[in-house]
């Protein structure tokens, strides 16, 4: 039995390489590269990330290439990173969410004000904040999926509404870090740090915060979900071609609403992490998160036309921005150079995306 089976496979194996080799030879190196990038779109940002770390490491030496500085980058990108995870989901459906930053800030304000203004237990307040974020996201999704309004318009409106609600509700009052620490330390949970390899004075070494861990867990979890669950595949299908997805039995409306709701939930987590990062609850923070998250997603090689890109790309995109920001800062360059380079990266990333798209054409 087994011998027969082996013979059978031998025939197949011996026949296969011939055709495949001929096929690949015809395509050449560039075409194969193009194909590889099409299959693994996060490779480009990963390469840019590693190259930029090596570049600044070579330029700045141990000042940059230290556990302290490298983990500092993680801390500095954690908020944008978490929001970029939410933004990636939305952009994969060929949508866009301009209200991400506003949702994050309002959620953080709700967590703070519910605790301090109404005296709710802090656990309940955090849950309320997460629930409000999810609900706003779901409303976005409903308007887009059921009312058929364009995502750009819906979230442009929601951005203004949520931000105004945030200022009206909070009266723009900051809740101080010291009050939070004394009465509701749970709000600052995602900001608590732990060190690896610090010296005797507790200085230097790699510093991590819970928020950084949360960011990495969110990305790892979403990467798994997007690749290995029906929901994840459906999100790609909806982004690629909603009509085809509908015809193949995907519940397009349900997928879209759930994507925006999940995005709202993740933004609310970002709001929680924001309290940890800045210590206080400040209604004026996070104003540029929508643009910064879209930047991270685009640099991360996720196509704005939907349906293609890897969620990990957004993490690499956020880290690239973080590496450039700190690297250029440490090398003493004018801060405008950071923006100039990031602008170049955005256009470069979209150009590469267009080129990769040709492989399927």
């Amino acid at each position: 039995m087994s011998g027969n089976a082996d013979d059978f496979e031998d025939v197949v194996n011996s026949a296969k390489p011939e055709t495949v080799a001929a096929f690949e030879e015809r395509k050449g190196f560039i075409a194969r590269l193009q194909h590889t990038l099409h299959v693994y779109p996060a490779l480009v940002p990963l390469f840019v990330l590693l190259a930029s770390i090596l570049l600044f490491g070579a330029l700045l030496g141990s000042k940059f290439f230290s556990p302290f500085a490298l983990t500092l980058i993680l801390q500095q990108v954690q908020i944008v990173g978490i929001v970029a995870a939410a933004q990636s989901l939305v952009i994969l459906t060929a949508g866009i969410d301009l209200s991400v930053g506003a949702i994050a800030v309002l959620s953080s304000v709700i967590m703070g004000q519910f605790t301090f203004r109404y005296g709710l237990p802090v656990e309940i307040a955090v849950l309320c904040g997460l629930a409000v974020g999810t609900a706003i996201g779901a409303v976005n999704g409903w308007l887009i999926a059921a009312m058929k309004l364009p995502p750009f318009i819906v979230t442009l409106g929601m951005w203004q509404i949520v931000l105004a609600a945030n200022f009206l509700y909070s009266k723009n009052a900051t809740i101080r870090s010291q009050d939070i620490q004394a009465e509701a330390p749970l709000l600052q949970l995602l900001g608590s740090t732990f060190k690896v390899g610090a010296n005797a004075d507790g200085r230097g070494g790699a510093t991590f915060t819970i928020g950084v861990i949360v960011m990495i867990v969110i990305f790892a979890f979403l990467a798994y979900v997007m690749r290995h669950t029906a929901w994840g595949r459906h999100v790609y299908a909806v982004g690629d071609d909603p009509e085809a997805a509908q015809l193949s039995g995907v519940n397009v409306r349900g997928i879209l609403i759930s994507v925006y709701a999940v995005a709202g939930f993740i933004c609310a987590i970002a709001g929680w992490a924001l309290i940890g990062r800045i210590g206080s609850v400040s209604p004026t923070s996070g104003q540029l998160l929508n643009i910064e998250s879209i930047t991270a997603v685009v640099i991360g090689g996720i196509s704005l036309f939907g349906g293609r890109g890897s969620i990990m790309g957004a993490l690499f995109g956020a880290l690239i921005v973080g590496v450039f920001t700190l690297g250029l800062r440490l090398s003493g360059a004018d801060a405008q150079w950071t923006f100039l380079l990031i602008g170049t990266l955005i256009i470069g990333a979209v150009a590469v995306d267009q080129w990769i798209r040709k492989v399927s054409a």
Binding site: Q76, G191, G279
Partner: protein, 340 residues
């Protein structure tokens, strides 16, 4: 109703506006702030409203959507001219670009007073009612130097400024601090051109917690031995404190700031900030309204504080650790006067 003669083609609109305001003396004043969300401007509006009610003036308030929203401010000035207002109190987002609209208002017979933020050039407005930001910086600089005593010669200083574009207020406070600390300013109109080795570096904060933390982290990455931190305002100081706390260095560092908002004063009591220079937005606005009332009554123009090209609305150093040779008020007094 005499004012109606000022307008020509705008007469009809003005009449409509004055009819609404008819319950008062007929004088209208405008307050145009950068935003209506920042507690500083909220307090400013409260001060203006109280003073306007007292003087029987109708106050109309306008604000940009965000700091830097220039277009909304221009539209507000145009609305005030059309409204037949007697005067405008303005905190400009874009101090040089707004000059065209301000000139238009002054040509139409309105008194324009720049509040808090001087226009560029400063004489584009009829008057400027503002904090002496250089003096504010100088006070905290002198305090920090006196507090350190002999160690001031070996200080490691972080300068947390406002924005890359170096707005006037950011430059005045920064340079004032350095002057007060005893550091050569090089060009006093530019931040960051000093070559004193005690300065570790300058970074920008956008005047908020997030920016304060990031800037502090960046400078700590350059030199972890920083022991004096100048901050543009108290939210930036709170952010810087979080960065120091995350590496366990918060107790070794002296943080100084400017503003005098209530959370900032509370942070002095809690030992987060060593000293801050407090400014008085409520007084600025109240004095501004009184100046417009006087101008509407008999054309009196406000006068500058002797020796300065603006009217100084005062600044006081708030600290619970007074030092010799620098006048200061206590945290309790600062709390009574704080805003936001």
């Amino acid at each position: 109703m005499k004012k109606l003669l000022i307008g020509t083609t705008l007469a009809a609109i003005t009449a409509a506006g004055s009819a609404v305001a008819g319950s008062h003396s007929g004088i209208t004043a405008c307050l145009i702030t950068k935003t209506d969300t920042n507690p500083f401007f909220v307090k400013m509006r409260e001060g203006a409203e109280a003073a306007a009610a007292e003087a029987g003036i109708t106050l109309r308030s306008y604000a940009g959507k965000v700091d830097g929203d220039h277009e909304t401010q221009v539209a507000a000035i145009e609305t005030c001219i059309a409204d037949g207002a007697s005067g405008i109190l303005l905190t400009a987002s874009d101090t040089s670009s707004i000059v065209g609209a301000v000139t238009q208002a002054r040509d139409a017979g309105l008194l324009v007073i720049a509040l808090d933020t001087p226009l560029d050039p400063i004489d584009s407005a009829d008057a400027t009612f503002a904090t002496d930001n250089f003096l504010a910086g100088e006070l905290i600089g002198r305090w920090a130097a006196a507090k350190l005593g002999d160690d001031a010669a070996n200080a490691r200083i972080a300068m947390l400024d406002l924005a890359v574009s170096q707005p006037t207020v950011g430059v005045l406070r920064d340079q004032g601090f350095l002057q007060g600390f005893g550091i050569d300013l090089a060009d006093p109109n530019v931040n960051g051109d000093e070559d004193d080795p005690r300065i570790v570096g300058n970074d920008v904060t956008q005047g908020n917690e997030e920016g304060g933390r990031r800037a502090m982290e960046n400078l700590l990455a350059i030199d972890p031995s920083i022991n004096v931190v100048y901050t543009i305002n108290e939210p930036a100081a709170a952010g810087a404190y979080e960065a120091l706390k995350s590496i366990g260095q918060e107790s070794d560092v002296l943080i100084v700031s400017v503003d005098g908002g209530c959370p900032g004063i509370q942070n002095i009591a809690d030992g987060v900030i060593g000293a801050t220079a407090q400014q008085y937005p409520l007084r600025m606005a109240a004095l501004g309204i009184q100046a417009i009332a006087a101008y509407a009554a008999d054309g009196t123009l406000p006068e500058n504080t002797p020796g300065k090209d603006f009217f100084d609305t005062g600044v006081a150093l708030v600290t619970d650790q007074p030092v010799e040779g620098v006048e200061s008020i206590s945290v309790a007094e600062g709390t009574d006067l704080c805003w936001g």
